[in-house]
């Protein structure tokens, strides 16, 4: 009974998202005969897995009150390293670790810039996006890499029965990190740091360490998403993960992460947000909407989601601010 209640509470917060998903599915089933086919569903899920894995990190960054625009560059650079090493004959497992190390390094630079130096996350990660993208172009000389080893492809792009490996990895990581955020001291501290950094610092928490850790882990998740992506593509293209940052942020915000104040958002919400984003993308493809409009529509969706968030946040903090005016001197 108790767990049933708990389950209801968990879902009730996300009920709107579920309704939206169901609505899109119903509309699309009628609008396109191809929508509800096995191939298309697999297609959607594979499409969102890369965004999903990245959005896990993005959710944590947003929870601390930050933002990360360097996810695309991090993914590009680290997956190029992985592909390059594998093509040079380095065992794919070692190449995978190297990619994760590159992601961690970029994340660490982000972390230092944001927490130790105090650069606003928006600017710091924007700079890192340029640096990593640029470095990727320099190293790859603007050429894609092909022909990744079999072992790697089977882990990254194989199937367990009918289920693609990318889906397995995505769901596994979502569950793991959802438990991490809700059930561990570190996870809860991430929420606290975002919810009120000053209070948390005064309570004895080293905020800088926490923020640092979040950016490092986010970098590694980007690398992981990159590995899944190059395995599926069997190549590392130059324009890999273009606009990844926007898609991941859109998913997080649709899912209820607040970019106006930290400490608010759940991974389950992000998961549903990413699905909605994937469905919209797929719907636009199936309905033959031109790519120009697609970008326009994605922009509209994110603006709408952020507007709703800002209006809700105003209620939470506006109430407090009003009281603050009335503080007796």
């Amino acid at each position: 009974m108790k767990s049933l209640k708990k389950g209801y509470r968990l879902i009730s917060e996300q009920i709107m998202l579920l309704v939206i998903i169901v609505a899109i599915v119903i509309v699309m089933t009628f609008a396109s005969p191809y929508f509800l086919t096995f191939n298309n569903i697999t297609n959607i899920i594979q499409y969102i897995s890369v965004y999903g894995i990245t959005a896990i990190g993005m959710t944590m960054v947003i929870l601390t009150g930050g933002i990360n625009l360097s996810v695309g560059g991090t993914l590009a650079l680290s997956s190029w390293f992985a592909a390059f090493l594998m093509l040079r004959g380095v065992p794919w497992f070692a190449a995978l670790l190297a990619a994760l190390a590159v992601g961690a390094l970029v994340g660490a630079i982000n972390g230092v810039a944001v927490s130790a130096i105090g650069i606003p996350p928006l600017i710091a990660t924007l700079a890192l996006e340029q640096i990593t993208r640029g470095l990727h172009l320099v190293l790859s000389k603007g050429k894609p890499l092909y022909g990744l080893p079999e072992g790697f492809l089977s882990v990254g792009a194989g199937r367990i029965g009918p289920v693609p490996m990318s889906v397995v990895w995505t769901i596994l990581l979502f569950v793991l990190f959802a438990l991490f955020l809700s059930h561990t001291t570190l996870g809860r501290t991430i929420y606290a740091v975002g919810g009120n950094p000053t209070a948390t610092k005064i309570a004895g928490v080293n905020n800088r360490k926490i923020i640092m850790l979040v950016y490092v882990v986010t970098g590694m998740l980007c690398s992981f998403a990159g590995l899944v992506l190059i395995a599926r593509l069997d190549s590392c293209p130059v324009s890999i993960a273009n606009k990844l940052d926007m898609s991941a942020i859109t998913g997080c915000v649709i899912g209820g992460c607040s970019v106006t104040c930290g400490g608010k958002g759940k991974l389950f919400g992000t998961f549903l947000g990413i699905i909605i984003m994937g469905l919209i993308q797929n719907a636009l493809d199936l309905l033959n909407v031109s790519a120009y409009y697609q970008q326009f529509i994605q922009g509209l969706v994110i603006l709408l989601a952020v507007t709703l968030d800002a209006m809700k946040s105003k209620d939470v903090w506006g109430g407090l601010k009003r009281k603050k005016v009335g503080k007796a001197a």
Partner: protein
Amino acid sequence: MDNQNNIIEMNHIVKKFSDNVVLNNVSFHLRKGEVHSLMGANGAGKSTLIKILNGLYNYDEGEILYNGKQAEINKVEDAEKLGIAFVHQELNICPDLSVAENIFVGNLRKNKWGVFDKAQTIKEAQDLIDMVQVDMKATDIVRNLRAAEKQIIEILKALTMDAGILVLDEPTSSLNEKEKEIFIGIVNRLKAQGVSIIFISHFIEDVLLLSDRITVLKDGVNNGVFEAGQITKDELITAMMGKKAEVRKRNSEKLAKDTPVVMELKNLSSEYKFENIDLKIQKGSIIGVCGLLGAGKTEIARAIMGIDKFDSGEILLDGEKIHKVTPEIMMKKQVAIVTEDRKTEGFVPMMSIRENSSLSIMKNFANKLGILDFDKQKNYADELSRKMTVKMSSVEQEVGSLSGGNQQKVIIGRCVASNPKVFLLDEPTRGVDVLAKSEIYKILLEMAAKGVAVLIFSSELEELLEVCDEIVILKKGKIVGRVSTEELDKNTLMAKIS
């Protein structure tokens, strides 16, 4: 009474916050061209009265007259239209702009093309500066100016709005003696030009020096209007505090002289905030630190905890010097703090009581992998909340939705649970109702009895006298005395700090 001369009349104002009557039938009259001071202890209703005049608060009963005519002041713009200008204690300046640009901010002079006219702005600003005869150039960059000069910019800013009435809120608290002289000169010159001034201050000497008349509020009632020349400092204190200041002593055995010192501050200094603070705190003692606004109470508390840095000096715990003072390290060394600004620094508003109250000690509820045991955490929060008598629906309630007093109890509970050796509290009972106050003090007394050294930084003199063993008196960032509460009563303490 000659009502012809009154530019502002606030008559029979009643203001309630739910059931709490903050102003009870208060009248306040301001004559044209006078300096009228408003005094009273904390919570007497000064700021409420002024916020009503400013349009920040509505009032429940009474009337406000402007030049004898009924005036509707429902929002800040209404007050501005009547030429009432407020100079707040906090400075609202842009440090990297010039004096002229700061004075005319939002109202910069334009030429006929609608383009910013720098020369004109500077010229008008310089005229204003010359009028008050201060040694300052309109082209100076504000960052390089002294505190007094910045304060003067705030006043000049008010004057550009053709203010006939100027409300100065604690304008002298950050000024040194010399700066104060400049300030007094300006006030007198403004007065001579017919500006009416309401002066709010805790500094009795400044009030006596500057005012024509003084209105004293006490517990939400007008306790008398005095001509400044006809009242002494002691009489004024009595009017503010009441004659029979009842002093109840802390009901515990006196600390033995040889009780070990748990914390020592040596020569702690921070520029413009406090200097040469030397303090030894014994185990199990309750020390009050008192002083007026700007005396450095909050600054010292924050420096000890490492929230703000200090320039020089040492902090010793159990005789051992702390090399790097940060909240994280001080917390590990068992020092806890309840800061003054509860709303922005005390708690995480969207998190539950359970999580907030265990924020400092979350590790205690987790296994080696850091996985939390929610039941254990909940039981702890339940017990703590019961002990702290927090009024709540359950420990899952968000702290942001609790009342102020209950929020404060959650914060204090969190600190208590971290098992401190030294417990710093900055204005712990501000905005807290009487019942919660006594509960909070009860807990502090219990902690002291167990050997915790408690430092209360407060301007609530009555309460300090009630719970503390000793009181350290601060004035302008320096310790000017340390007195046992047995040798003190409220009026002498008030005289010492002001």
